[in-house]
Symmetry: C2
Subunit: 323 residues, 2 copies
């Protein structure tokens, strides 16, 4: 702990359409603010300006509340990203934006990849607290993972790793929106489950609806959901054999299905592994807050406190004090 | 450098049927000895005794040559293994053998997993010298990989990682000897290529023969070799998407096919990646010596010199001074 530093950071989770911000003190007290739109439709420069305006507002709020500017700023952003540059986001359209463009002048700041930043939060504060080596896999509109290695999310040589959603599961299967064939995401994301059910039946339904229909015995829903489960099982089997995680943490919208998803995936994964036991599957603990909490950890790292969060009493596993 | 330590280590690469040993000085001079059988047919205790006898002989040879016992011993062994224990090898049959059982009393020693130890040597001395994040994939009788992360081979939570040969590539494909379905190894190992050609044609051939026949236009050989290439392409695409390596290093018997293998795999890998470039493929530099050289690095690590090898002048990439 550097006692000379002010007592809080600004944390921001920038998604494609909305961003969520908050203030987080050195001892882990969180003030989460209302989210606001990124304004993606106005182009990448406008998004950068909107982020900067929001961090400025948060810094002002913190200054009036704590009597001092923030010690640092952490930002989780989509796409390819390093600690200091938002390299590229297909979703937002920006290229090579330096971290300084997102924050008020003179405040140390650090960027992180959105999913890896969520994985960092799950690692330090959430479902991976007791694990050094695990996969954090949020299953939402898309699928990407945080590969946690020796306690840290690992992005590979250039930070392009974690794209497990676009690893092939059925190499002669359906074409994915990304242009490849048979990607996990094209069978198992929440939007894929909804889309494949609609294509098959002509009936519109959310992924949640499809899961309920499958439970109720609807044959089309059972097959679509079954494909998602099998795709996840194949993909997780590859992961386990390659990286021997002690744990798999599933998050995102589809994981809210709970035992209805976890049971069949556990069975499917075990069936794909002949010579070793599968690791346990666990539900993500932090939900939609993972990105913002991870961004807070990055903000503290930017100030030179890499171990921030390890001692926070925040009992997120029991749905505790985060607000 | 700890100048008070003796100037060499004993290095041993223990395979299923044979072991190769040598003496390696602190500045990288290698004296490689004739290999000898492990005597696996005599049971695991006899193998442990044979290894211990061989390290003892090597230590005696070193003592007479250098006037001092070895500073340390490094051993690459198959199966599940930690720094200090050979946990299990299906091939040899041992369970929970402490490293001390393999070496003369009182000499510091370290164990390593065979493929990861080879990957360590390729990382420090070989084809991965300029890369921190790469895959070392020897393709021989079987297939397993060394996942090099931040410059170090990574074995996962318990050291069971790297089993890329048993990750599924065609989930409804052929049954593998391991009991799983559609594993990479069952299509792309050197023995799989030979076996699948024989099953299809009734003609006995080595993998090398099959590659030559495919080159000469034999349709069966083309299809069998083509399946191996496609299986490797699918598997490497998954690896690249998940772990974003800067390099893929192929080794083992099948890699000796050279451009005949590398060209089609490069093409197949690029075809499987729609939104990113593939990393370059490179041939392993150390060949059969990788395990023994990696074991030497482990021997130096056992003495408290984790950076041994980084400064060795040994120019293995040009086929130089190793002998």
């Amino acid at each position: 702990m550097r006692e000379d530093l002010p007592g809080y950071v600004v944390a921001l989770d920038v998604g494609g359409t909305a961003m969520k911000g908050g203030l987080v003190t050195r001892d882990g007290r969180v003030t989460a603010l209302e989210g606001r739109p990124t304004g993606r439709e106005n182009g990448p420069d406008a998004v950068v300006a909107a982020v900067r305006a929001y961090t400025g507002e948060l810094a002002d709020l913190g200054t009036s509340r704590f009597g001092t500017p923030p010690a640092g700023v952490g930002l989780a952003v989509p796409g390819f990203v390093t600690d200091t540059t938002a390299v590229y986001s297909a979703n937002i359209g920006w290229r090579d934006v330096p971290v300084s463009a997102f924050v008020p002048d003179g405040i140390p700041a650090m960027l992180g990849h959105d999913v890896r930043t969520g994985g960092l939060a799950e690692s330090v504060l959430g479902a991976g607290r007791d694990a050094d080596d695990f996969l954090f896999l949020p299953i939402g509109t898309g699928i990407a993972g945080a590969v946690v290695v020796n306690g840290e999310p690992y992005g590979g040589a250039r930070g392009w790793g974690g794209e497990i959603g676009h690893a092939p599961v059925w190499p002669s299967g359906e074409k994915c929106a990304c242009g490849q064939i048979g990607c996990l995401e094209t069978y198992a994301s929440a939007s894929a489950v909804a889309r494949r059910f609609e294509t098959r039946t002509g009936r519109t339904a959310t992924a949640k609806d499809v899961v309920s229909l499958a439970q109720a015995g609807d044959q089309d829903a059972r097959e679509v959901f079954g494909d998602a489960v099998e795709a996840l099982s194949i993909s997780l089997a590859s992961y386990v054999l390659l990286l021997d995680p002690s744990l798999i943490v599933l998050g995102g919208g589809l994981a809210e299905a709970g035992p209805v998803l976890f049971g069949p995936v556990e069975e499917g994964l075990a069936a794909r592994l002949a010579f070793r036991e599968p690791p346990p599957l666990r539900r993500a603990a932090l939900g939609m807050r993972a990105g913002m909490l991870g961004a807070a950890l990055l903000g503290w790292r930017a100030t030179g406190e890499p171990d921030a969060g390890r001692g926070w009493s925040l009992d997120v596993l029991r749905g505790g004090a985060v607000s």
